[in-house]
Symmetry: C2
Subunit: 201 residues, 2 copies
């Protein structure tokens, strides 16, 4: 695209780096943005720049935060006896959005995958164990809220072994049919889980 203005090319190249955004969508975003008021473009640029400033990792749970200890860890109204272990900060958001959990979180920083070099010492696992042992509020249950794929399952298995000596309840998220699913289209592993974990209605 030799005749494409540099600024559009640069913006499209930037959008192209985002996960799941291809060159066509990136160019579309750049062309859309250029038609917006200069003020809106400036606001967009500043909000992106804001991601490079003032964000830190919560020293307690490890999620992205604008304070050294995040709003969830400092919230005294949350249940401190249940700890929900997730892989990444966005996972915290997903669970918070459900409103179904009122305890605290621990962000591992990823899942185990030896092939990709993600060994136990690259994750926040030692810190999790220390956190549980050091806590003045006794943690009685750890929920392993990990993806239901191979790395998620491997990580959950490893964590269960590590947590065993601490003698607390270790649970995992339920597996079964998602809401709105048709039996006809469910894959057989999901359906097998749903049968195995059936409940009295």
């Amino acid at each position: 695209m030799p005749q494409l203005p540099d600024s559009i090319r640069n913006a499209a190249a930037a959008f192209d780096t985002l996960p799941g955004v291809g060159p066509r969508a990136a160019l579309r975003y750049a062309y859309w943005l250029v038609t917006q008021p200069k003020e809106a473009i400036g606001r967009f640029a500043r909000s992106v720049q804001g991601l490079a400033e003032g964000l830190t990792i919560c020293t307690e749970c490890g999620q992205w935060s604008d304070r050294s200890v995040c709003a969830i860890c400092t919230n005294t109204e949350r249940n401190t006896s249940v700890l929900c272990v997730v892989a990444t900060s966005p996972d915290v958001q997903s669970i918070e959005d459900t409103g179904a959990f009122k305890g605290r979180y621990h962000v591992l920083g990823g899942t185990l995958d030896p092939i990709e070099g993600r060994t136990p010492d690259t994750l926040s696992i030692q810190k999790l164990l220390k956190r549980i042992q050091a806590s003045s509020d006794r943690v009685t249950e750890v929920i392993l809220a990990l993806n239901t794929d191979v790395p998620g399952d491997v990580t959950a298995l490893y964590l269960k072994q590590q947590l065993e000596p601490l003698q607390l309840k270790v649970t995992r998220l339920a597996r079964g049919l998602p809401t709105g699913a048709a039996l006809e289209y469910a894959d057989s592993m999901t359906l097998a889980d749903a049968v195995k974990n059936r409940r009295e209605s």
Copy 2:
């Protein structure tokens, strides 16, 4: 999401404004970007800011350009006797990417749609007529390269009427089966076009 850091919330809100990007994808982009080096985030922000600076509309053809007359309009090696009329600047890119056209462009700035208030005087139509009449290089053919939807068809019809007095060849892009299409899945209007416009092989 009360406990979401402001900077992540702001960046997600900015991405959410992009066409076709929903709140979940926007949050994903913000979370991905925050894990990047500060330098990369700064580069991203500057490239967005660049869209607010130094971009203008080519005084000849009306496409986005970093000069007052764009690289295509100033290119003396292009065929000045064929003018390709498109709705928007990205359409110029799409046609340039094919390499199948070596003439010049005219960007209308949209298509006609009275319901949305897009009347002929909101588009660069008078300028198109003047441009053809004033041109020192005689324009012999105008290609109407518009979307094949209702607004595109209406606009093409209107332009054909307006161009009639100038006595030049007015063409439209061919309609038929897209490459890689299966007859079985083609909609009947497309297939009817393909039969009507069949060519000797």
